[in-house]
Amino acid sequence: MSETTEHRSNYFMVFGILVAALAISLALAAVSTGPIVVAAIFAIATVKAYLVLTHFIHLNVEPRFIKVLVIGLLAVLTVLYIGLVPDIVWVFGRMEGA
């Protein structure tokens, strides 16, 4: 516990960044809906999630195996995604209208 206290982040600063990031993505969305903007919006969302994860859920002070767990989990979901792209997005033998 004491360790957590020592490593405590400046929550208000993190919060400020999060709000700023939200503002940026809203501004971007208002400007355009092109693929680059969408990609940027998701990049920002990822950064936000990362900030919440490290500073609010305190991943930054957890032992290594918790970090391994988080990375492993994301890897598993990525594998699921990649494995499904050919079948669900491209669809082999797709019929009209499906």
Partner: protein, 225 residues
């Protein structure tokens, strides 16, 4: 054991049987060897008065080699198996040859319907004709099929052709075969599709091309009336 395989009448069936035989031999060799070692150790090292077991925690690589070296051989066998089988998959499912005949195979609870492209060689035109349950094909000709389903999943299963492919609603899955022997054979549905899944049976009739052509023109005429 492999004698149980049914007769093969397709051009690629021999390849598939070949893959099965090849893998079968490798795994049988490993199986027999491993089981033999197991049984030997059991008999050899059964409990005897005054004999103490050895201390072999295998903490060194030298000791671990006893299991890791065989594992390397397993890996080599694995690579061999995949190298033997991948090209066959490509031949059967990936590289479709130019067709002589085009058919749409439709599965629906609980019948197989076969739509022939007719003289113009194209589906969904006026000269298409249909056959229900009975599939007629010419011998030694490349038959291309488009596999579709009207309701749930089915699986087009022709043991003698070594052919199996699921029919998925919303998709039209291409495939092919070439039958090499005349005769009457069975078609089954290998994917659970409801109450009468068992009874979803079809027939495959392979004929000499001349007879097939005659049959096909009669059908085309009859159904276009």
């Amino acid at each position: 054991m492999l004698d149980f395989l049914p007769e093969n009448i397709s051009s690629f069936g021999g390849e598939i049987d070949g893959v099965i035989t090849y893998i079968w031999r490798i795994i049988l060799a490993w199986l027999v060897a491993t089981e033999a070692v197991l049984v030997y150790l059991l008999v050899r090292y059964r409990r005897r008065e005054g004999r103490r077991a050895a201390w072999l925690p295998a903490t060194t690589w030298r000791a671990k080699a006893w299991i890791l070296v065989p594992a390397v051989f397993v890996t080599i066998c694995d690579i061999g198996i995949e190298a033997r089988s991948a090209p066959v998959w490509d031949e059967v499912k990936l590289e479709l040859p130019e067709p002589d005949l085009l058919i749409r195979v439709t599965g629906r609870q609980f019948v197989w319907t076969f739509t022939y492209a007719g003289p113009d060689g194209e589906l969904d035109t006026a000269d298409d004709f249909e056959a229900i349950t009975d599939l007629y094909v010419p011998r030694d000709r490349v038959v291309r099929f488009q596999l579709e389903s009207a309701d749930v999943l089915h699986s087009f299963w022709v043991p003698v052709l070594r052919l199996k492919q699921d029919a998925v609603p919303g998709r039209s899955i291409p495939g092919w075969f070439e039958a090499t022997a005349d005769g009457r054979y069975e078609i089954a549905c290998a994917e659970l599709c409801g109450a009468s899944h068992t009874a979803m049976r079809g027939r495959l009739t392979v004929q000499p091309p001349e007879i097939f052509d005659a049959w096909s023109s009669t059908m085309a005429e009859q159904q276009s009336l």
